[in-house]
């Protein structure tokens, strides 16, 4: 009898047995920062279709979720901002792709709530705007709040900097973004990490995502980490 392991050989193997057309997938990252590159590529290669994808952005034409748009595997996106992707625009305007915009904080909190078993929450964000249409509203002390519901996914993809074989994760800098909440909101959460280490090598006091939220983990490879807006300053002549 062998003990259960969360470690899978690579992204392709980690997707074994859990994909079906029409499923809902969460994918971490902000722009191209902190995106699960290996898992997105493996998802594209799997050929699964009609996906609902929950992700703050939709990648750019050649990177990130842009790969899945190009191959027309996404039927619906739930996002806060998709401005950097021409293929997205084309598919949306032609009616091939459904789109649900959420304010960024509402999206983050809906995912947090979903992962925490909270049905919904009332927020001022979006009150009096198109976002409020069709939603229950409450006025408390003169302020209008709208009801937003929790979000979960069949599978969540997250990207961390370091992880151990128990699924404990540590993110790096602004690559953290949506990854911690999405890790909690997937019925199956798969993490890919730059450094996969043995238990004991990460300081328990520094863990961002405890391993209970992670069902499968892989050592990622060939990270590109594309930069969308390379901005620099000149060194002043000393």
């Amino acid at each position: 009898m062998t003990q259960a392991t969360k470690v899978y050989a690579d992204a392709r193997v980690a997707l074994n047995g859990i994909l079906r057309d029409g499923m809902t997938i969460m994918s971490g990252g902000f722009g191209l920062c902190g995106i699960p590159e290996n898992l997105i590529t493996a998802l594209r290669d799997s050929g699964v279709r009609e996906l609902t994808v929950i992700s703050n952005n939709a990648g750019v034409d050649e990177w990130g979720l842009g790969l899945l748009l190009k191959s027309k595997q996404i039927a619906k996106m739930i996002s806060s901002y998709v401005g950097e992707n021409k293929e997205f625009e084309r598919q949306y305007l032609s009616g091939e792709l459904e789109l649900e915009f959420n304010p960024q904080g509402t999206l983050a909190e809906r995912i947090r709530a979903g992962g925490a078993g909270i049905f919904g929450f009332y927020t001022r964000t979006g009150a009096g705007t198109l976002v409020a249409e069709g939603k229950e509203q409450r006025v408390v002390n003169g302020d209008t709040y709208i009801l937003e519901t929790g979000l979960t996914a069949d599978v969540s993809f997250v990207k961390a900097w370091k992880g151990d074989t128990e699924g404990n994760l540590i993110y790096r800098k602004t690559a953290r973004n949506f990854n911690p909440m999405m890790a909690t909101a997937g019925r199956i959460t798969i993490a890919e990490v730059e450094y996969l280490v043995e238990p004991g090598e990460l300081d328990p006091d520094q863990i961002h995502t405890p391993g209970i939220f992670v069902q499968r983990i892989i050592q990622g490879t060939n990270y590109v980490k594309a930069i969308e807006q390379r901005t620099v300053r000149k060194r002043s002549a000393a």
Partner: protein
């Protein structure tokens, strides 16, 4: 002479106070960072998950794991911290950010703001703008006074879909500054750009406001 983009940013920077936590939007608001008075401690928040945003990196020192909300490479400072998107928006929605400077397509005389969507055009999304205007303590808007076709952008009512209802505390345009003491009050014109007359501003504004 109307204010330039940089002069607009400079004027907006005068709204900063010592110790403020501030979120700057994309476009002219980003330029405000260049005009923070050196004697003030101002901490910039980036809603993708950072407090204490530093300047752009030196060439060759860009880190793909370190970007701002405009997806630009940035640097950290000794006092910086990183956090998740939900912690970030807890700061924003929980009223912990003192000031936000945002751009706009339209501002209404009742403080309504429209800055995310033009019907019939491709909509990129609201990003964090709706959360910012709903939760930040004080919202300053910077924009051109009139649109490219010459029509007023400070109007009786917004015609574009709103980002937030009754959320603007101060409006700085290239011609004038409008402010109000609270969100039940009317805007008052408190300042003119150099060489701009009150009559010119009145002529290019369809919103009603109090004269200075």
């Amino acid at each position: 002479m109307a204010w330039t983009r940089d002069q607009l940013a400079h004027r907006a920077a005068r709204e900063l106070r010592d110790g403020y936590y501030v979120n700057l939007g994309i476009g002219i608001p980003t330029l405000v960072a260049n005009y923070i008075p050196p004697n003030l401690k101002v901490i910039l928040q980036s809603e993708n998950g950072m407090l204490g945003m530093g300047p752009f990196p030196f060439e060759g020192e860009e880190d793909p794991d370190l970007i701002n909300a405009g997806k630009q490479t940035i640097t950290q400072l000794p006092m910086s911290s990183y956090f998740s998107s939900s912690d970030s928006f807890a700061m924003i929605r929980g009223g912990h950010i003192d000031l936000s400077v945002l751009g706009a397509m339209e501002v209404a005389e009742n403080g309504d703001l429209a800055n995310w969507m033009v019907p019939g055009k491709m909509v990129k999304g609201m990003g964090g703008a709706m959360d910012l205007v709903a939760g930040v303590k004080r919202v300053v808007v910077v924009m051109e006074h009139i649109s490219k076709d010459g029509s007023p952008k400070f109007k009786p009512r917004c015609e574009l879909p709103l980002t937030g209802a009754n959320v603007v505390d101060m409006l700085i345009t290239d011609l004038a500054v409008f402010a109000r003491s609270d969100r039940r009050s009317q805007f008052r014109m408190i300042e003119l750009a150099p060489g701009v007359t009150a009559d010119e501003v009145r002529g290019k504004t369809s919103a009603s406001y109090l004269a200075s």
